[in-house]
């Protein structure tokens, strides 16, 4: 009894650390502490469960060596993966870990289902079912198991696809009526869930069918969504896994699982909506919009209409332009992350500052692959926090800027978002780089951005293209400026 109460108190403390952790994570100065607090709470909840948990008959947990073995394997792999991953690959990593959580919830449901099936087979259990209410309670338990499994497996397979897309292993794919097929599939899953729960026979068959269809649904759900929208999808799947964990909490009457799961479920859903707002799109639009497919079609039709020619510029001319400018704004994008150019861009910034040029960074809320991606990356190379200016603040400043250097960004500076209602990114707020005197765009090639659409900005008279890998081009720029003395 004392053990039970001690464990409950540990769970209570852990729940509080989760709430405090999320609270602190919302503020730059306390964020790191918040993460550590939540990690501490998780640690005591895990070890408390291992040593103090007892079932209804007062038995302690068995198989401790195997449990510790699993913990050890997971810790080593998780730790190494998290430590080794490049900052640029962070989004994929989060998606991968999220999928692991979903798979964990899925497996728990499968085991619990098998457990129910095997106890069902005993004559004693069937006799117990004749007690009024016992059958209803069993059905309730089955429903929770099923729902936990459905959400867990959708989150698992969806996260794997999101991971594949972000790391370039899986391409966007959509086919006609896909949205209807998805909705239909969801209806079928729910119908079969009913069969698995209420059916008198073949419960096992329906259960595993629901499992297979849920995994399929996760794949079909994420497949058509464009790569640029992946952060939103990962955030949504993140809250799914939270809900799956909460079902587990319901199943075991475990408060800490419930609190942790629901917190992430609700906070994650809100975070998803906030992210959509940053892109000025609705969640529904993201999920049904077929960003990737529609974008490519639009590109084909609109690219021919641009007037003007591409103007190329070399590093030495750019160097002169920047050195004698009063004010330079750098617009970083995913290209900067891919090329690992965060350090050299900081070098360029300090060099220009020493020449008396005012340098700022314009951070679009969705630059890179995740909101805040650029901030994390530039912070890594010691760029001062107050030099990173958010979109609303910096947009009026472009008019007084001599040179804008766009490094590997594309969609976030595409004027089509303002002018072309047929464009898939129409309505997304962009950085008004055109207001500046000169725009230098560093890109590897004329290839379209992540949304798959052409950018009229590149054809404007003010714009010059500095082709090449971001790291190489910026290095060249730095040495050219140094050579100017």
């Amino acid at each position: 009894m004392t053990l039970q109460i001690t464990l409950q108190i540990i769970y209570l403390i852990a729940s509080v650390t989760f709430i405090l952790g999320l609270k602190f994570l919302g503020n730059p100065s306390t964020a790191r502490k918040g993460n550590l607090i939540a990690a501490f709470g998780m640690g005591i909840a895990i070890f408390g469960t291992i040593f103090l948990y007892t079932d209804a008959n007062g038995h302690h947990l068995k198989n401790l060596p195997l449990i510790f073995g699993g913990l050890a394997v997971g810790t080593v792999i998780g730790w190494l993966a998290a430590k080794k991953v490049q900052m640029t690959a962070m989004p994929e990593m989060v998606s991968l870990f999220n999928g692991m959580g979903g798979a964990c919830a899925m497996l728990i449901s499968i085991i619990e289902f098998q457990h129910i099936q095997s106890t069902f087979a005993e004559p004693m259990a069937i006799a117990a079912l004749l007690i009024p209410g016992a059958s209803a309670a069993l059905k309730g338990r089955l429903l929770i198991i099923l729902l936990g499994m459905i959400i867990g497996s959708i989150s698992f397979s969806g996260s794997m696809i999101a991971y594949g897309k972000l790391s370039g292993k899986v391409k966007d794919k959509s086919f006609g009526f896909q949205q209807f097929i998805n909705i239909g599939l969801l209806a079928v899953i729910l119908a079969f869930t009913w069969m698995a729960m209420m059916g008198e026979s073949n419960q096992e068959f329906w259960f595993y069918l629901v499992l297979a269809l849920s995994l399929l649904y996760g794949i079909l759900f994420v497949m058509p969504i464009g790569g640029a929208d992946m952060p939103v999808v990962i955030s949504l799947l993140n809250s799914f896994t939270g809900v799956a964990a909460a079902f587990g909490g319901f199943l075991y009457d475990n408060k800490v699982m419930l609190v942790g799961g629901i917190l992430v479920g609700s906070a994650g859903t809100l975070l998803t909506i906030v992210m959509c707002k940053a892109m000025n799109r609705s969640l529904l639009n993201v999920l049904i919009g077929n960003f990737g497919g529609g974008g490519k079609a639009a590109a084909a039709s609109s690219s021919a209409g641009f007037e003007g020619a591409i103007k190329e510029v070399n590093a030495s001319d750019t160097a002169i332009l920047m050195k004698y400018a009063k004010k330079v704004i750098i617009v970083p994008g995913y290209g900067l992350a891919v090329a690992q150019a965060q350090h050299v861009v900081h070098e360029l910034e300090t060099l220009l500052e020493s020449e008396g040029v005012e340098v700022k960074y314009a951070i679009h809320p969705v630059a890179g692959r995740m909101p805040g991606h650029m901030n994390v990356l530039l912070a890594e190379s010691n760029v001062s926090y107050d030099k990173l200016v958010e979109m609303e603040e910096i947009n009026p400043e472009f008019a007084t800027t001599d040179v804008v250097l766009v490094v590997g960004a594309n969609d976030v500076v595409n004027p089509a978002a303002k002018t072309d209602p047929s464009s898939p990114i129409y309505g997304m707020p962009i950085l008004d780089v055109e207001a500046a005197a000169h725009v230098i765009v560093n890109k590897r090639s004329m290839k379209a951005g992540y949304a798959g659409i052409e950018n009229e900005l590149f054809y404007k008279p003010k714009t010059s293209m500095l082709f090449g890998d971001a790291k190489k081009a910026l290095n060249q720029l730095v040495s050219e400026i140094k050579a100017l003395g």
Partner: protein
């Protein structure tokens, strides 16, 4: 249905309250912190590992032992990987003092 609600009233209260707490917590977070916050929340739902430990500790059949072991490994990946990745992201913010 009603008896189900009655039986789990405490848990249902907890769910409803936590939904509001979760919404309150994320209310006014600067977009800079969206990624670390998502990553931190990702680590927190790793709490599902508690379920896998309980399942594992009560397992007797070989198949549930195998699946349970896998669940513990995956859950640990979620927890450890999630917190370590988040810490790495935030470490970079901290340097900026």
């Amino acid at each position: 249905m009603l008896s189900f609600i009655n039986e789990h009233l405490q848990l249902i209260y907890l769910i409803v309250l936590m939904v509001f707490v979760g919404i309150e917590l994320i209310g006014h977070v600067p977009s800079v912190l969206h990624t670390p916050l998502m990553s931190g929340a990702n680590a927190i739902h790793g709490v599902v590992i508690i379920g896998s430990i309980i399942v594992m500790g009560e397992a007797t059949h070989t198949i549930s032992l195998v699946l349970g072991f896998l669940a513990v490994v995956l859950g640990t990946l979620n927890v450890v990987g999630g917190f370590v990745v988040t810490d790495r992201m935030l470490e970079m913010f901290k340097k900026k003092k």
